[in-house]
Homo-oligomer: 306 residues x 2
């Protein structure tokens, strides 16, 4: 692995959830506690304000306040990959400058995701504009490839052109496509590019391919298992651990992640305010909760959350 | 037509373009001039900060400033249907309150469009939150149904539930699906609901169905023709006018709207700064410009823009 281009650690990241109060304001203390728990339980880093963190349901001001809360809570900024990609580039620029000033390890940048069928030239223009306006050679951008959600994929050609034009700044990618062939191809085609799988299902596979690790929604609860896989990934033991981790991930994939993960945390902590979330997300219904619990019980899945 | 629920006029609306300076800041004078031209050339109203106005490429602050510029430029607010739907509900609430304070006729509200596969319950929760937090019985919401772009459709069931819960506030809809059967069904199922077709192609059809009119990207240049159709829609003459209008619309549909419409205005005015636009949009390439001009020449399409 030649990952000279970034201060971010390899390994397991959680796209951490954003705990909220009953009025849907960020619950600062719960947030810091959860992030500390993640880092103490298998996570090498965190990706706050990603899809799972309901990033796009928060205003620019709220997103900056959240990051400041984490820093004040002694979460090490170098281990943070902060989501800053908005539809309007001035918002992305503002969030990215702010994140850099906070000393973060990298920013995870969605392409503008309202307009669809965007050309590679359009993608290049977006990143050219952001990079120029941020104007810092400390900037390390991770492309956030999540076509099912954003509707705007990064083509291989766009990645190649971005890397050619901004070789030190375009540092890596979170591939949330779920498409293993795509992750593998990108790892092989761009060996210095730090690729994180968007699911712990491919944690072992991507490490063997020279990738950086995984950044996932479900590592909010599976991080102890994922951390075990990462710690022994070069040994034969890793295979069985990965196999159980994959089965847990698969069980969770049957449910919408944000409500399901918040439900699990509510159940494990006994604190129902974990179920606060911003619309369009809504808590699981009773049938789904039952089905989720049955799935997890069948796997003997537990987390130690104190 | 029982359209007692809104101050917005029936007829032809343009989702007006947003002229920009070379640094992509809004060009206030050009914006006001263009909006005046639209209203003097067949438009009954305007929908600023819609898809064609590059709404989602502007910050909340820029969007509010744009509306204030229009008001200062004597564009009648009651004829404005202002786009206010953002991913984060607090942004939608802020823009909507501001638009109401400016005396606008209605707001055009996208659902939060980052998260996909949103349930009807999720949509209801979004609008319930927005309506409660805006807290004004002057509020008139037009649902912005544009599944190809937003990725989040309004189902018929969601519309019905919204109308049941907020009968005076949920005033109408812009249906940009391009799906005539859907527009027709909605007009028939919800007769008091003011449906605007998202394309002038269906202007005559939707008026005959009891709809309110059209709100379109391409009426930025076809408004004189669309205005003619509207003025005679109850006469036999309308058919031929609509037929020519439809052919012009079809010619434009071969190109991405924002760059194509800005190209036409640049060509007709000789002012190349019409080509300023925010990424991910980029100007048409030479081949597309040639092809666009050939199509329009073949139709003998001209606008009188002075």
């Amino acid at each position: 692995m030649k990952h000279t281009n970034s201060s971010l650690p390899d390994g397991v990241f959680a796209a951490n959830l954003t705990p909220q109060k009953s009025d849907m304001a960020i619950d600062d203390q719960r947030l810091v506690d959860h992030c500390r728990w993640l880092l103490a339980n298998g996570c090498d880093g965190l990706a706050p304000m990603g899809t799972t963190g309901e990033a796009n349901s928060f205003t620019v001001k709220e997103r900056m306040a959240l990051l400041e809360t984490l820093i004040r809570g002694d979460i090490p900024p170098a281990n943070l990959l902060v989501g800053t990609g908005c539809c309007a580039f001035p918002d992305t620029v503002e969030l990215t400058k702010h994140a850099l000033a906070c000393g973060i390890g990298g920013v995870l940048v969605l392409p503008p995701f309202y307009y669809k069928q965007v050309s590679d030239d359009g993608i290049l223009k977006v990143f050219d504009t952001i990079i120029n306006q941020v104007g810092s050679d400390k900037l390390r951008i991770y492309l956030y490839h999540f076509p099912q959600m954003s509707g705007v994929p990064f083509s291989n050609m766009a990645i190649e052109r971005l890397l050619t034009e901004f070789p030190t700044i375009i540092a890596g990618m979170k591939d949330s496509s779920g498409n293993w062939a795509n992750m593998q191809r990108i790892c092989q085609q761009f060996p210095d590019f730090r690729v994180y799988a968007g699911t712990e299902r491919y944690l072992l596979d991507i490490l063997k391919c020279g990738g950086a690790g995984c950044i996932s929604a479900t590592t909010n609860v599976t991080c102890p298992l994922a951390g075990q896989v990462f710690s022994v990934w070069q040994t034969p033991e890793a295979l069985e651990l990965q196999s159980y981790l994959t089965r847990c991930r698969e069980a969770l994939e049957a449910f919408p992640f944000i409500p399901a993960l918040k439900q699990i945390l509510a159940d494990h902590t006994g604190r129902q305010d974990w179920l606060n979330m911003r619309p369009p997300h809504i808590p699981l219904n009773a049938a789904n909760i039952k089905s989720l619990n049955t799935s997890l019980d069948n796997l003997n899945f537990k987390i130690d959350y104190t």
